[in-house]
C-alpha cells in the first residue's frame, strides 16, 4: 500500500498549466509489480471481433484547415493569414486528391491514406443549427440532434444492440471520467491510460478489497460503479501487463495522446472483449491565433495524427477489425477573424480510419464556399449528417441490422448512398 501513496504527492506536480484532466491523471508512479497478474481475458473474441473507436475533438476543430479545399479561391480569399498553402508549395497541404489536401502537421497519417485505410467525409456535421459547444457536443454524444432530454449516449445504446453477453470492459473510455456518449444502461469502464495505468490500486489488494466489497454490497448506483470498477480494473490491468510482457513494442511515443493511443492499442490486443472505445481531446477552440502550417492548431493536430498512427501500428493484425471515427461538434467560420482565429461555424470533416476502410478518398457532397453556398452566408454547409457516417460504420463494420440501428439513432436520416462503399462489406 505504501508505494501507491506517493502517487498523490506526485500528482500535485502534474497540476501544471494547460493540463487537461486526462493528462493530469498521468503521474509518475512507482515500479509496477508484474507478479500478481491473473491470466484472464485472453478469451477468444466475441462474434467477429469487430471494434469501433471514437475520438472526439471537443471545442470544434477547424475542419477547413484539416482537409483543406485548396481548389477553392474563396478559401484563400477568406483566410489571408491562416490558410494552408496549396500542395507542392512551401509548407503546403499534403495532396489528397485534385480538390483537397491534408494539414502538413498530419503527415504521420499519410501512410494510412496511401494504403487506403484513411477516408474523410467532408461537409459533415449535425443538422442542428446550434453554435453552442455544449449543446452541440451533447447532440453528438446523445446521437439525437435537437433533443435535449435523451438520457443516454449512443455508444451505450450501441453496446446494448451488439450481440452479448458483455463484460465490464466491453466499452471503455480513456480518461478519468465516464463521458456522456458511453453513459446509460449498459456497463462501461473508464481508465486514464497514463504511464501509471498498470499500477495496482491499494483498493484492489485482498484484505482491503474484502472490507470495501462488504461496504459496497448494496444495490445503488455507487455500489454498481464500485463493483464494475473492481472488475474492469482487474481485467484491464491484466490485459495491459500481458501485452507489455510480450516486449515486441518499445516505449510509447512521446506526448500525452500518442502514449494513451499506444496503450489503448495494447489494451485492445490484450482484451478481445473490448468492443467499443472512446477518447476525447480538447484545445480546438481557436478563436485567437489559430496559426497556419504551424502554430496552435498544428500543435494539436500533430500528436493527434501521431496517436492515431500509433494506434494503427500497435493493433497490428487487429487493425483490419478496427474502425476509428474522429468527430468534432461543429466546424468553424470560413472567414478568418481579425485575431487570426476562427469562430463557431457549422459543417466540418469526419475522419474514418481502419483496416477495412475504403480510404484514400474524400467522401461527401462538397457544397462549395461561394457566399450563396455557405450556411447562413458564413459557414461550410452540412451535406452529410454525422449519423449517416456513423450508421454506415455501424452497418458495414459492426454488422448492425436496421432494427438495431433504429435503437441507436432514433429517427435517423436516410442512409447516404455516397457512403455505401465507405467500408469493405
Amino acid at each position: 500500500m505504501k508505494r501507491r501513496d506517493f502517487l498523490w504527492l506526485a500528482g500535485g506536480g502534474a497540476l501544471a498549466l494547460g493540463i487537461s484532466p486526462a493528462q493530469a491523471a498521468i503521474v509518475p508512479g512507482p515500479r509496477r509489480d508484474r507478479a500478481a497478474v491473473p491470466d484472464r481475458g485472453a478469451t477468444p473474441a466475441t462474434a467477429d471481433g469487430k471494434r469501433l473507436v471514437v475520438v472526439m475533438l471537443r471545442g470544434a476543430v477547424d475542419g477547413l484547415n484539416v482537409v483543406v479545399p485548396y481548389a477553392e479561391k474563396a478559401y484563400y480569399d477568406a483566410r489571408p493569414t491562416i490558410a494552408i498553402a496549396r500542395p507542392g508549395t512551401p509548407n503546403g497541404a499534403l495532396e489528397l486528391d485534385a480538390r483537397f489536401g491534408l494539414h502538413p502537421a498530419l503527415a504521420s497519417l499519410m501512410p494510412l491514406w496511401r494504403r487506403g485505410q484513411l477516408a474523410f467525409v467532408h461537409a459533415a456535421g449535425s443538422p442542428d443549427p446550434t453554435r453552442s459547444h455544449f449543446d452541440a457536443q451533447f447532440y453528438i454524444e446523445s446521437g439525437t440532434p435537437g433533443v435535449h432530454m435523451t438520457p443516454d449516449g449512443w455508444m451505450n445504446r450501441l453496446l446494448a444492440a451488439l450481440p452479448g453477453p458483455h463484460g465490464p470492459t466491453a466499452a471503455i473510455a480513456v480518461g478519468p471520467i465516464l463521458p456522456r456518449i458511453l453513459s446509460g444502461r449498459m456497463k462501461a469502464a473508464n481508465l486514464p491510460l497514463g504511464p501509471a495505468a498498470t499500477h495496482p490500486l491499494p483498493v484492489a489488494m485482498p484484505a482491503v478489497k474484502a472490507a470495501f466489497d462488504r461496504l459496497y454490497s448494496g444495490a445503488g448506483a455507487l455500489a454498481r460503479a464500485y463493483r464494475e470498477g473492481q472488475m474492469a480494473h482487474a481485467e484491464l490491468i491484466g490485459a495491459l501487463l500481458r501485452e507489455e510482457e510480450k516486449a515486441d513494442n518499445g516505449a510509447p511515443p512521446p506526448g500525452v495522446f500518442p502514449g494513451q493511443a499506444a496503450r489503448l492499442a495494447e489494451l485492445l490486443r490484450g482484451d478481445r472483449r473490448i468492443r467499443l472505445a472512446f477518447a476525447a481531446l480538447g484545445g480546438w477552440d481557436t478563436h485567437v491565433n489559430q496559426g497556419g502550417h504551424q502554430g496552435q492548431l498544428a500543435n494539436h493536430l500533430r500528436p493527434l495524427g501521431e496517436g492515431l498512427a500509433a494506434l494503427a501500428r500497435g493493433l497490428g493484425a487487429e487493425w483490419k477489425d478496427t474502425a476509428v471515427v474522429v468527430i468534432s461538434e461543429f466546424g468553424r467560420t470560413l472567414r478568418e477573424n481579425d485575431a487570426h482565429g476562427t469562430d463557431h461555424g457549422h459543417g466540418n470533416v469526419i475522419w474514418v480510419l481502419g483496416g477495412a476502410v475504403r480510404g484514400g478518398r474524400v467522401y461527401g457532397e462538397w457544397p462549395g464556399l461561394a457566399p450563396a453556398q455557405l450556411y447562413q452566408h458564413r459557414d461550410l454547409a452540412v451535406t452529410t449528417d454525422f449519423r449517416q457516417v456513423l450508421a454506415a460504420v455501424l452497418e458495414r463494420h459492426l454488422r448492425l441490422p436496421d432494427t438495431a440501428l433504429a435503437a441507436v439513432f432514433p429517427s435517423p436520416p436516410a442512409a447516404a448512398p455516397g457512403l455505401a462503399g465507405l467500408l469493405e462489406a
Binding site: 497540476l15 484532466p21 491523471a25 453513459s183 481579425d338
Partner: protein, 499 residues
C-alpha cells in the same frame, strides 16, 4: 430496566420545562446538522458539527449569509497573509510576473524569458493554495461554497494566456466580494475583469473597419448562453453579433500604455462600434462603455436569467434534476428582489425541497477531497497532494478549459474508475500517508509543521460526527473490518460520497 426508566424520566422532565428552555434542551438532530453542513459547507468538521448543534440551524444559516460577522480562525488568516500575490492588483501581477518586455529597446533573452515563466508559477500555486485553505479552514463556509458555485458559473481557465497570473486575482476581486450581492454586480465585475476579457477573447473584440481588426463573438455568445439567459433564453445569432458590437472596445490594457496606466482592463473608444444597434428588440443608445453596461444590465434582469440562475442554484443545493416548483419560486424571488442572491438563498434554504433532499447529491471531486480532509481533522501545511487528487479525479483546480465550468451532477462524476480512486485517496488520507501535514522547505510554517507526525486518522473522531447517521450496511461493514481500516471505510463509504 434502568435505561428505560431513565428515558421516561427525561421525557417527563422535558415536558415540565418552559417552552424556551425546551428548545434549548433539544438540539437539532444529527441528520439535520449534517445536511446543512454538507450543503452550506464543504462537509462537517468536528468543531463545526458542534458549533451548529450549539447555535441552532437557523442562527447558523443566518450568520453564514452575513459572513462579515464571522471571525476567521487566526491560523487561517496567518496562512493567507503569506500568499502575497493574492494582494497584488492585476496591473502589478502583470508587471511582476507577466512576459518580459523590452526595456529601452533591449529585448529579454530567451533564458530570461524562461526564468520569468518559472517565477510566475508561484502566482497560480498561491491562488490554488488560497482556495483550498479557505475551503478547508474558513468558518465562512457558505461564502466559500458560493465561490465554488459562482466560479464554475463564470469559469475562466488558468491555461489561457495571462489568466495563469490573473485567476487568483479574479476570484478575490470579481467573485468572492459579490457572492451574496446583486447578480448584476457580479456579472459586471466578471465582464470587466481582465481574466474574463482574456479568457473569452473580448479583448480582441473590435469594431469592424476596413482593413482593421474586427468582431469576436466568443464572450458575447457565452455571456448569454452560460452566464445569463441560458441556451434556450430566446436570443438569436443576430443578438450574439449585436452584443459583440456593443462590447467592442472592452479590453485589457497594454502595459505602460500612457492613457490608462492604473487599470488592467479598459474601455477604448477608438475600438468601439458607435453605430446604431437593436439588441433583443431594444434600441440601444450609442453611449460607448455605458451601452455595454446597459446591455449586461438588461441581461441580468431578464426573466430568462432569473430562471437559469435559479435552476443552477437548485441543482447545486438540492438535486441534479431540481424540482420545477422550487425553481419557479426562486426565480420569482430573484425577479422581485432585482437579483438579490442572498434573498434567493434564503428562500432556497427555507424550502421543504431543500430539507427533503439530504444525501441526494453526489460530491464533485473538489467537494469529496475537501470534505474528507475536513472530517479527518488533520492539519494541512501542504496542499499539493490534495490538488493532485482533484486532478486525478478529473477536476484539476482552475483547469477547466471550457466556459461551462465543472458540473456538479452525479452524471458528470460517478464512474467505476473514479469510485476506486476516491477510495484510494481515502485509504492514503486515513493512513496519514499523504504528507499534507508537512510544509515544504523554506515555508515559514516548516518548524510548526515538522513536528506533525504522520498519524493515522482517528476513526473515533469520524464516528463522533457520522456515527448516528451512517447506513446500516456501512455500520455492519465497519463492525466486521479490522480497526485499522475503519477511518478509511468511513471516508470511502457510499455515505461519504454523497452530500
Amino acid at each position: 430496566m434502568l435505561p428505560r426508566y431513565a428515558g421516561i424520566l427525561a421525557a417527563l422532565c422535558l415536558l415540565l420545562l418552559p417552552p424556551a428552555a425546551r428548545a434549548r434542551a433539544a438540539p437539532p438532530s444529527d441528520r439535520r446538522v449534517l445536511h446543512v453542513l454538507n450543503r452550506l459547507a464543504f462537509g462537517p468538521t468536528l468543531a463545526d458539527f458542534r458549533r451548529v448543534k450549539a447555535l441552532g440551524i437557523r442562527r447558523w444559516i443566518a450568520q453564514q449569509l452575513d459572513p462579515a460577522v464571522i471571525p476567521e480562525p487566526f491560523d487561517l488568516t496567518l496562512r493567507l497573509d503569506q500568499l502575497g500575490t493574492l494582494q497584488d492588483s492585476a496591473v502589478e501581477l502583470r508587471q511582476l510576473y507577466g512576459p518580459l518586455r523590452p526595456v529601452l529597446g533591449i529585448k529579454p533573452t530567451p533564458e530570461e524569458m524562461k526564468a520569468q515563466q518559472q517565477r510566475a508559477r508561484i502566482v497560480l500555486e498561491q491562488a490554488q493554495e488560497d482556495r483550498v485553505l479557505r475551503a478547508l479552514m474558513s468558518r465562512r463556509q457558505l461564502q466559500e461554497v458560493m465561490v465554488d458555485f459562482w466560479f464554475n458559473h463564470f469559469n475562466v481557465f488558468a491555461g489561457k494566456g495571462l489568466d495563469r497570473i490573473w485567476i487568483g486575482n479574479y476570484v478575490a476581486r470579481a467573485i468572492r466580494p459579490f457572492v451574496f450581492g446583486h447578480f448584476r454586480d457580479l456579472l459586471l465585475a466578471t465582464a470587466k475583469s481582465p481574466a474574463m476579457l482574456v479568457y473569452l477573447d473580448n479583448t480582441e473584440n473590435t469594431a469592424q473597419r476596413q482593413g482593421g481588426p474586427g468582431l469576436n463573438e466568443n464572450y458575447a455568445r457565452e455571456v448569454m448562453e452560460l452566464h445569463t439567459l441560458g441556451v434556450d433564453g430566446g436570443y438569436t445569432q443576430q443578438d450574439v453579433i449585436t452584443l459583440a458590437r456593443i462590447l467592442t472596445g472592452w479590453r485589457i490594457n497594454t502595459p505602460d500604455g500612457g492613457r490608462f496606466p492604473n487599470a488592467a482592463a479598459v474601455f477604448v473608444g477608438a475600438r468601439h462600434d458607435w453605430g446604431p444597434k437593436v439588441f433583443l428588440g431594444h434600441k440601444m443608445t450609442a453611449s460607448g462603455r455605458a451601452e455595454g453596461e446597459e446591455a449586461l444590465t438588461m441581461l441580468a434582469r431578464s426573466p430568462a436569467t432569473a430562471r437559469h440562475i435559479s435552476y443552477e442554484l437548485a441543482q447545486y443545493f438540492v438535486a441534479d434534476r431540481p424540482p420545477p416548483a422550487l425553481v419557479d419560486r426562486l426565480a420569482q424571488r430573484f425577479l422581485a428582489t432585482d437579483g438579490d442572491i442572498r434573498a434567493v438563498l434564503q428562500t432556497l434554504f427555507a424550502s421543504p425541497e431543500f430539507w427533503n433532499s439530504a444525501g441526494d447529491k453526489y460530491k464533485t471531486p473538489f467537494e469529496y477531497v475537501i470534505s474528507a480532509v475536513r472530517a479527518a481533522g488533520v492539519p494541512v501545511y501542504n496542499v499539493r497532494p490534495l490538488l493532485g487528487a482533484m486532478a486525478a479525479l478529473g477536476e484539476p483546480l482552475y483547469g477547466c478549459q471550457t466556459p461551462d465550468g465543472y458540473k456538479n451532477t452525479e452524471m458528470a462524476w460517478l464512474s467505476p474508475d473514479a469510485t476506486l480512486r476516491r477510495i484510494d485517496f481515502a485509504l492514503a488520507l486515513a493512513r496519514g500517508a499523504l504528507s499534507i501535514g508537512v510544509a515544504s522547505a523554506g515555508s515559514p510554517f516548516m518548524l510548526v509543521s515538522q513536528g506533525a507526525p504522520k498519524t493515522p486518522v482517528d476513526a473515533a473522531r469520524l464516528e463522533a460526527i457520522f456515527g448516528t447517521t451512517l447506513s446500516s450496511r456501512t455500520r455492519a461493514a465497519l463492525a466486521a473490518a479490522p480497526p485499522g481500516l475503519r477511518a478509511a471505510l468511513i471516508l470511502g463509504s457510499p455515505d461519504f460520497m454523497m452530500r
